[in-house]
Each structure stands twice: as structure tokens, then as C-alpha cells.
């Protein structure tokens, strides 16, 4: 240490700290040296969500073993789940950054509309996907800039943008949908929306997206800066981070995710509706928070959010398949959300 440099100063204290440092250097390890314990501690939010999911599925299976052992049930969930995953994951970034984005349903509708227009005009669906992603990027940038550079509350501003964009779609289309009959023969459809060995191929793309985003969140400068900005924007600014740019980027990321999600939902149905994406607002938001990302910003979990999306997707299917009437669906939705939140509150401390 520094003792050689300045031997004469603060002698008792300096020596004490020197000894402490030496001792600590030897035992420089976490109390949870055990890798398993370390893993559990580092991932307790997502593991908690996984536990909720497993318990829920166990209850469903006990209630109706025959339905829950048939592949059809899982196949149908795996077809629609990817659509949710493509927006849940970017939304984890947004919430961790201390913001919220309620405009993604309209972005889904808008971007998939562009996709439908391109495909209907006879162009290759790949071009349509590219156009949709560009649209999503631009809309994300628009919404993000409005919130960040306009200095608006993201809760209200994105809600407004959701109505505004949806309204624009409705005004122009006057409620008419677009059927894309030639889509099924295209290469793009085979790659993004067919089945391999009976498994809907969308789920592979969604899993790849979740893995990539989890790496982006935990192992990339972008994720690191998103967390710091959500945690303490003033400090981030003092340390030279362009806080506004980071915030705009999370909205752009959501725009891109929403565009992919919207396109996938159109490819499942071969039809674009002016309401495309609307039904995803509440389930997607619920998935983020069921997944263990707290509302206050700074921390979040991408994998937890994905498990949250799986949980929320199975509630509706599960309740009906377990033999209860559809009237129970909302009740169980609420129950799972509340139980998860209570679990996460107990599971994670908030540091200030």
C-alpha cells in the first residue's frame, strides 16, 4: 500500500487500515462463495417468478391432467407468446430506465400496418418486415424524443401517443382490415411463422431475442447505462453519461420490439386489423411486473420478464382448460399479479 510512500503520517490509523487491507486481500471473496448460492442471490427475482409459474402449472395439471398433457395446448400458447415477448423484453429496459411506455400497442398496429401495405402491394414480405422495423424505430424515436426532449411525463405522454397513433390508423383505414392471402407461400412466412417438428417456429426467434436482450442488459454498455440512469440520473449525468440519449434509446428499442411483435401477429392471422396490438397493453405490462422488475427503476430482469410473459400467457389458457368458466380468467389474472408482487416485495430489498 501507500505506507512506503508516506511513512510518517496518521501512524496509528494508517497502520490499522494497512493491516485491514492485507487481511481483506487474503479473504477477498463473497460470503456466498458457493456458486449455487451466488446464482440464487443474483437471480432471485427471476427465480421467484419461475417458482410462481411452476406452482401455477402444477395446480392446473392437478385440476385437469388430460388437457395439460396434450401438446395442442402448449402449441397454441407458443404461437401467441412470442408476440408478447418481443414487447415485454424492451419494456423491461424502459421500466429499469425509470420510464414507462404505453404507446407500444399503437406502434405494433402502425408498424404491422406498414408491413401489410408492403405485402399487399406485392413486394416480398422480407421488405415488409424491414419497412415495419424502420417504422417502429422512427415511432420509438418520436415517442422517446417527445418524452425526453419535451420533458413530459412518460406515463401520460405515451398514453397520449397510443391514442393519437391508433386514432390515425382508424381515421385512415375507417375500421377496414387487410387480408394477406399470398403470405402463406412466401419464404419469410416459412422462416418466421411455420412449424418445425410441430413446434411453432416463432418461439425460437423469441427465445433468441430474449437471450440477446438479456446479454444486452447484463453484459453491454447499453444495459449498464440504462440501469445507472434509472437508478440515479443525476449521478449518471455527473459521470458524463448522455442521460437523455440513453432514455431515447430505450423507447427506440421498444419501438423495434413492437414492430417485430406486430408483424408476427399479422403473420399468425394472415390478416391485419386496425386494432392490431391493442389487446397486448395490459398483459404485457403485467408480465413485466410479474417478472420481478420493480416500478422504481435501476434494476430489472429480462429473463424474469420473459417468464412473467409465459405465466400470464398460461393463465387464460390454463383457467379454461382446467375446467373453470371464462369468467374466472380475470380473477386469476389479478390473483397471480398480486401474489407475484407480494413475493417480489419480500424477495428484494430496496436500497436508497
Amino acid at each position: 500500500m501507500s505506507k512506503a510512500m508516506e511513512p510518517d503520517l496518521q501512524s496509528p490509523l494508517g497502520r490499522a487500515s494497512g493491516q485491514m487491507a492485507k487481511k481483506a486481500a487474503k479473504e477477498w471473496s463473497h460470503p456466498s462463495d458457493n456458486w449455487l448460492r451466488g446464482f440464487v442471490l443474483d437471480n432471485r427475482a427471476s427465480l421467484g417468478t419461475l417458482a410462481v409459474f411452476i406452482v401455477m402449472m402444477a395446480v392446473f395439471m392437478l385440476a385437469n391432467p388430460t388437457v395439460f398433457t396434450t401438446w395442442y395446448l402448449y402449441s397454441s400458447v407458443l404461437t401467441t407468446l412470442p408476440v408478447a415477448l418481443f414487447v415485454v423484453v424492451p419494456l423491461v429496459f424502459v421500466v429499469t430506465c425509470g420510464e414507462i411506455d404505453l404507446s407500444f400497442p399503437a406502434t405494433m398496429g402502425f408498424a404491422s400496418w406498414v408491413f401489410a401495405l408492403v405485402v399487399q402491394a406485392g413486394y416480398d414480405p422480407f421488405l415488409g418486415i424491414a419497412a415495419a422495423v424502420v417504422t417502429g424505430t422512427l415511432l420509438g424515436f418520436l415517442v422517446g424524443s417527445l418524452v425526453v426532449y419535451g420533458g413530459l411525463s412518460s406515463l401520460i405522454a405515451t398514453l397520449g401517443m397510443n391514442f393519437l397513433l391508433r386514432g390515425l390508423i382508424q381515421i385512415i383505414n375507417e375500421g377496414k382490415s387487410t387480408a394477406l392471402t399470398n403470405l402463406a407461400d412466401s419464404t419469410a412466412y416459412k422462416i418466421f411463422s411455420s412449424q418445425i417438428w410441430g413446434i411453432p417456429v416463432q418461439i425460437f426467434w423469441a427465445i433468441a431475442f430474449v437471450v440477446f436482450s438479456a446479454l444486452l442488459f447484463n453484459r453491454h454498455r447499453f444495459g449498464a447505462q440504462v440501469k445507472v440512469v434509472g437508478d440515479n440520473p443525476d449521478s449518471a449525468k455527473q459521470m458524463g453519461i448522455d442521460v437523455k440519449l440513453v432514455r431515447v434509446k430505450v423507447f427506440v428499442f421498444t419501438g423495434i420490439g413492437a414492430a417485430i411483435a406486430g408483424t408476427f401477429s399479422v403473420m399468425i392471422n394472415f390478416t391485419w386489423w386496425p386494432t392490431a396490438g391493442d389487446g397486448y397493453l395490459l398483459p404485457v405490462l403485467a408480465s413485466v411486473f410479474v417478472g420481478g422488475t420493480p416500478t422504481w427503476g435501476g434494476i430489472g430482469t429480462v429473463v424474469g420478464g420473459a417468464i412473467g410473459a409465459v405465466t400470464v400467457s398460461f393463465i387464460q389458457t390454463g383457467v379454461v382448460a382446467a375446467g373453470l368458466s371464462g369468467f374466472y380468467v380475470q380473477f386469476f389474472n389479478g390473483l397471480i399479479i398480486i401474489l407475484s408482487l407480494l413475493g417480489h416485495k419480500w424477495n428484494q430489498a430496496r436500497y436508497r
Partner: protein, 262 residues
């Protein structure tokens, strides 16, 4: 004369009609410890924010190593080798020690992917170097779990990474125990011994007097006094001077000193 790390020339900062700084000249040379003192509202915080690039001055010139700089910002200030340990420590308390040390300066490789192992190794080296270690935390511990002194250690570790030329310590001893204060002083001397500079801001004039080579007294947005250590006999001299500035009348000798330096 030794190299001038940073120089502020006639810096003014106004918030609307109110002048926080009304033309401040301040410079820090290599290897010197400058003590900046002043009452509440004297403009200390504003001056630090300008030096660290968080706030842009209304007018005036900033020179780094003799060269005027344009487009001053927090990132520019850090690039120029100026690190600030803010009074509130500017830590993200829900993040790990590693993430705080590399905040805004992540160690990245290909396409912005983090070099996690290198960051952890560097962080533990830094923490050990300044003696802020313990067997109950590692570089991967969450800052929110640390004590006030340990958090100060993280903020200081962040400042000394990359061999900063000038470290600004804003009230670094506020709310610290005696042991922790001694550690901070020890750190200041260590930095000076390694030929780097420190701007030490403190409320406690005795603390500043003990440690600084030169004193700058700020009063109502202006430099009221710049004095070398040899010109000031004791901390009480400084206290008397500050009282005199607050309530004019007396101690003319020190005023002359102020004109000389400014």
C-alpha cells in the same frame, strides 16, 4: 513554475437574474492541493459543477493545460483528467461497486460488450489500493449495502481510476467518522505525493488548513482571497478573514494578498 492543470478565467454563472458566480478566476497547478472555502451560498457548489462540466458557465473561459476548451461537458471534463468526488458521492446505490466505479466509462470490447472480468479485477485492485476493503463485500456487492465511509471509498476509487490529473473533493469529510476522515486525509497526501493535484472543498476550515498548499476563499460569487500556505499563519487567520468578509472592516493585509494573486 509547474504545469497549470486547469484555469478558470472570469467565470460567471447566473440563474435568471441571480448571479451565483460573478467573475471567478481560479487555477490549479500540478501537484498542489488547493483548499476552497466559503460560506453557504458563496458559490462553491456552482464552481465545482462548472469544473466537472455538469453546469455550463454563462460566460468566461476554461483552459486545460493552457489551452482554451470549447464545448465543455461532464464527459469532456473527465476526458481532460478531472475527476470529481461529489458531496452526495453520486453513486447508483442499487448497482454493484464495479458498475459504480466504471459508471460512464465502462470497459468495453467488441461493439460495446462489457469486459466484465477485467472490470472486476480492476475494481478490486482500486479498492485495495486505497484501503477501502473488507471481507464482507466484494466488487460485485451492491453499493446500498455499504456504510457511508465505504461508499466514499467507492466514489474515490472511481476518481483515481485512469490516473486523473486533478481530483475535486467536494466536502469529502462531511458525515464521516474520525477514522474515515483520517483515511480521506491519508488519500489526499497520497495523491499529492504521486504528483497529482487536488481541489479540496470544505466547511471545516481546520480540515482545509491542515491539508492545503493554497487557499481560495469564495464569497458571494467572487474570490475574496487567494493565499499561499506561507501567507497564512493559522486556521484562525482564515476564520478571522472570513468573518471579516462577512462583516466588513479590518485585516487589510490579507486583502492586498488577494489583489496580488487575482
Amino acid at each position: 513554475m509547474s504545469e497549470r492543470i486547469i484555469e478558470l478565467r472570469d467565470i460567471k454563472k447566473s440563474y435568471g437574474q441571480v448571479y451565483a458566480l460573478g467573475g471567478v478566476n481560479l487555477s490549479v497547478d500540478r501537484g498542489e492541493v488547493v483548499g476552497l472555502i466559503g460560506d453557504n451560498g458563496a458559490g462553491k457548489s456552482t464552481l465545482i459543477k462548472i469544473l466537472s462540466g455538469v453546469v455550463k458557465p454563462t460566460s468566461g473561459e476554461i483552459l486545460v493545460r493552457g489551452k482554451p476548451v470549447a464545448g465543455w461537458s461532464a464527459a469532456r471534463s473527465r476526458d481532460a483528467g478531472i475527476e470529481t468526488v461529489f458531496q452526495d458521492r453520486a453513486l447508483a446505490v442499487q448497482q454493484t461497486i464495479v458498475r459504480n466505479i466504471f459508471m460512464g466509462r465502462e470497459l468495453t470490447g467488441f461493439m460495446g460488450w462489457l469486459k466484465v472480468n477485467k472490470e472486476v479485477a480492476e475494481a478490486s485492485r482500486l479498492m485495495r489500493e486505497i484501503g477501502f476493503t473488507s471481507k464482507v463485500f466484494t466488487p460485485q456487492s451492491i453499493v446500498g449495502q455499504l456504510s457511508g465511509g465505504e461508499r466514499q471509498g467507492v466514489a474515490i476509487a472511481r476518481a483515481i481510476y485512469k490516473q486523473a490529473e486533478l481530483i475535486i473533493l467536494d466536502e469529502p469529510t462531511t458525515a464521516l467518522s474520525l477514522t474515515e476522515t483520517a483515511k480521506v486525509f491519508h488519500f489526499v497526501r497520497q495523491v499529492r505525493a504521486s504528483g497529482r493535484s487536488i481541489l479540496f472543498i470544505g466547511h471545516n476550515i481546520h480540515h482545509v488548513f491542515d491539508i492545503a498548499d493554497r487557499f481560495v476563499v469564495l464569497d458571494r460569487g467572487k474570490v475574496a482571497l487567494t493565499a499561499d500556505r506561507s501567507e497564512v499563519k493559522s486556521a484562525d487567520d482564515l476564520i478571522n478573514f472570513m468573518e471579516d468578509v462577512a462583516h466588513p472592516g479590518g485585516l487589510p493585509g490579507l486583502h492586498e494578498g488577494a489583489e496580488q494573486r487575482a
